[in-house]
Amino acid sequence: MNKCIEGSHAVAETINLCRPKVIAAYPITPQTHIVEDLAKMKANGDGGYEFVRCESEFAAASIILGASASGVRVYSASSSQGLLLMTEVLFTIAGMRLPAVLTCANRAISAPINIWNDQQDAMTLRDSGWIMLFAEDNQEAVDLHIVAYKITEALRIPVMVNMDGFVLTHTFEPVDIPEQKEVDAFLPEYSPEQGQFLDINMPVSLGCFATPADYMNIREELAIDIEASKKFIKTQLGNYKKAFGRGGNALVEYYGAKNPDVIIVAMGSVVGTIKDAADELMEKKKNVGLAKIKCLRPFPKEELVKVLGKTKFAAVLDKSISLGQEGILATEVKAAAQNKLSAKIQSFVVGLGGRDITKDSIKEIFQHVQKRDSGLSFVE
């Protein structure tokens, strides 16, 4: 049903439609509206889940770990410092191959403390073993959460769905929320195999310690499985499109001119602004395109290389930075392009701590990347 609702509310309604059994969360701006809505649904008798209110994000992550290990569908949401506080447990969830879906309402990291949007929180977690999806708008956030459950429960790799804090979470826009029966048909009840979860009828030990003889093989297996998950993610995105008529199976979506000289690479809500700026540039016969990264982990190297193709310049926009290096996505793009592409790839850090990113700043980047390579640039 089409509704004009807040992004957080849309996600909360979607999560309820996915019928999780255990939700645990701790409040942090800008994630709060999502979990408040889920608490309200539970209080009104509309949510069939356990809502476990806890004393820290560390506990929230631990609680969904325990519930997932008990064989039920789980959910949590966080942001910024909260996500960082969860870090130790998030690595453990992935390492233990436990299915979980977590929303990150992306926000800047202290210090200085700042509640506004950038993506430093999620980017810092890129090595944790979670599949990481990024939504461009609230409709995509809704859709990706449903697909996320499908992916995590089949592959036993946790999935983080990222949506920009405030820009998406607190914005009202029209969103098509699927019907319960449609979601049920796409996402049946989660029923793990015996031996995969804690069960008094089939005792298993989960989370054993591994010596050097085994640890590396177990980590290698996880790395291989995450790399191989691209194919499954694409299949599920495709199935979702078949069932709901939206989205698409590309992990890197292209928008713009046919043979672009410049491609801007970005993730999340800034993609909308770039599309508008690109439209205006193309009206002026500028040869520009946009590569939207929908999936950061696993990183869709092959797709990206194909999309960048023969472009001369790639400007990579990052709402995060690896201090002492450059924008994190820029490094990823360069690694993917190595020995495959001749494009000049440059890092532009934008929008840290909620700094506005305007069409003008996108146009400036379009000019800048073609003129000079000044290394890492902070775009005002």
């Binding site: 059994k21 255990v22 645990a24 889940y49 356990e50 476990v52 209110r53 806890c54 004393e55 820290s56 560390f58 506990a59 631990s62 609680i63 969904i64 770990l65 325990g66 519930a67 997932s68 290990a69 008990s70 064989g71 039920v72 789980v74 130790e88 447990v89 453990t92 233990m96 804690l198 069960d199 008094i200 089939m202 005792p203 298993v204 030990s205 989960l206 989370g207 054993c208 310690f209 591994a210 010596t211 085994d214 177990i218």
Partner: protein, 297 residues
């Protein structure tokens, strides 16, 4: 992988705990009483490292280890999942860990679960220091103990902090059952596990477990040392039901002096070599007397 064992224990032999380990002994007895319909959430520490080397496990009940500080929160998740499955009354959920996991790093998460009044038994195996990492002091380390982070020296008599009163913290959270025990009295320990599991709500059981390498004791003295902890009054063995003191293990009359307990343990050896050390011995004796008065031991 499964091996057929000639024993009926829920913790199989073949683990790598030290000879004379008090902790593994306590674990075995807690689990024997809890029975097969039990799920264990284990904190990082000796209890996990000695029992779960991949691809093997000593546990014949469902068992999970995640991180050091979150056994109780993992148990919260298990408990919530069981409520959803309608199995809450069929399964005992037990979280356990050492004193570092309990008194220190995991305390906040334990507090959160107790506040939610969840139906979980938390068992602390208290060997009074971080033994798995090599005998560093924790909030459970008693005054005067020699640990690798509270070494005695020209200007030190060992740990100079008082042991944290964890049972009092549990009581402040309205835990329905709070008790202490030692591996020196297995029957008492078993009865307490039985009683705790018969009650619904948050439960806390703290068991003093002798650590042979950490206390510098002889492995034959594991039971003897734990008994003396109770008999001297230094480790009060108490039981609270719904906040009321319902039991306290009496000290023998005459009560053995604290020296009898301390002298069996290398971690207190330095106290008998200096005047400053002797003052600490006297202070420990005063703590024992105060326990006797406070709990009517």
């Amino acid at each position: 992988m499964q091996y057929k064992m000639p024993f009926n224990y829920l913790i199989n032999p073949g683990h790598s705990a030290c000879a004379g380990c008090g902790e593994i002994l306590a674990m075995r007895h807690v689990l024997q009483i809890a029975g097969r319909n039990t799920i264990i959430a284990n904190a990082t520490g000796c209890s996990e490292v000695t029992t779960s080397r991949f691809p093997m496990s000593s546990f014949k009940v469902p068992w999970i280890h995640a991180n050091f500080e979150n056994a109780q929160a993992v148990a919260s998740g298990i408990s919530a999942a069981l409520r959803q499955k309608g199995m809450e009354d069929q399964v005992n959920v037990i979280a356990w860990g050492g004193d570092g996991a309990t008194f220190d790093i995991g305390l906040g998460l334990i507090s959160g679960s107790w506040e939610r009044q969840e139906n979980i038994l938390y068992v602390c195996f208290d060997n009074e220091a971080y033994m798995n990492t090599g005998i560093q002091a924790s909030g459970a380390t008693p005054e005067g103990a020699n640990t690798t982070t509270t070494p005695p020296g020209k200007k030190s008599t060992g740990d100079d902090n008082l042991k944290k009163d964890m049972p009092a913290i549990a009581l402040a959270h309205h835990c329905v059952y709070v008790a202490t025990a030692t591996v020196g009295n297995i029957i008492d320990l078993q009865e307490k596990v039985k009683k705790a599991l018969s009650m619904k709500g948050p439960k806390y059981l703290q068991i003093l477990v002798t650590c042979v390498p950490g206390w510098y004791t002889d492995s034959k003295d594991t039971i003897k040392v734990a008994r003396l902890a109770q008999q001297t009054g230094i480790y009060p063995i108490i039981e609270y039901v719904n906040g009321e003191l319902t039991g306290a293990a009496k000290c023998p009359r005459p009560k053995p002096p604290i020296e009898e307990y301390l002298k069996l343990q290398g971690r207190y050896k330095h106290l008998f070599k200096s005047d400053e050390g002797k003052k600490v011995v006297a202070a420990l004796q005063r703590i024992a007397e105060e326990n006797v008065r406070k709990y009517g031991l």
